[in-house]
Point group: D3
Chain length 68, copies 6
């Protein structure tokens, strides 16, 4: 009955979430042997201005470093 929570930056669309859920469920069932129906995935889109990295909000870090 695994429960997986994904925290990532907002900006991913429905297609991306479908692929994410399908892919993670596939990995978890393969590794744990549990059936598909037992896997729950909760996707949380986090605004980069609510995400800190290296002591800064992530939207600042990106503009400073040009990185994702």
């Amino acid at each position: 009955m695994p429960v997986i929570t994904v925290n990532w930056w907002q900006g991913n669309d429905r297609h991306a979430r479908k692929e994410l859920v399908a892919g993670i469920t596939d990995v978890v069932t393969r590794v744990s042997g549990c059936p598909d129906d037992a896997v729950t995935v909760i996707v949380r889109d986090v605004d980069p201005d609510h995400w800190g990295r290296g002591g800064h909000l992530a939207d600042e870090s990106r503009s400073r470093r040009g990185q994702r």
Copy 2:
């Protein structure tokens, strides 16, 4: 000082959240013996299109299976 987090599908209104918080607090104080004031409940409404079950987004699963 228990902290309880509830992840459920969005669509529940204020009345439902009041009942939820009162009911869970009642159970936790009864079982643990701590006072009401020590119990924190955080309610997260999750959009079914951010919730995966059985490898699919939950809004798809519902339409396919007619279930909640």
Copy 3:
């Protein structure tokens, strides 16, 4: 498909966890209308020396204040 996480202090036994799970599941199904089988409850026992309250570890606070 609600997922509930309970963080509380360790020291509760199996009987307490059974009551906790049964009671919370009852509240959640009553409020949300979902079936029993759809409710997941994860119980985390936290050592009071890994729990901070008011700026102190909880086992210190208890001895200082004689409270739970």
Copy 4:
């Protein structure tokens, strides 16, 4: 590689989140010895009407008690 999650009431602005992220990262690097870049902070703003305390939604508790 510490990951810190802060759940607090919504109403804090960007300036507050910047200070929060900078301050927590500073504490965690000082205590754990890891570099700044290894620290992730996720900030969740919770609506007081999704936060239960003492068996009531927090926006009710505040009006009843005049407290924060």
Copy 5:
């Protein structure tokens, strides 16, 4: 900088965790486009007697239903 948390039942060994981390990281980088190094996966083994399902502790449910 995605952060993924997996809650599953204890009993999976190091080899299973390695496969889990590699597989999930692969899915998340493919879907989100972020580099491998940006993905954090935290694995929590939960004792079935701390996991509630359908109102019962999971180790009871298993013995009653002979299921995983």
Copy 6:
């Protein structure tokens, strides 16, 4: 009533946890204006072999790269 969760690698002792809780509580009360007593900090020690980074378990990454 902020609730902060810290996930970090196990190996930090009681003294480190005391400093961590005191420091984070100080930051949160300063930024949010809430009193000390309203701040809860939950510290989770994660075994590096339950922590994935860059697709590998963290204890492997460390030996490969000699980093923390």
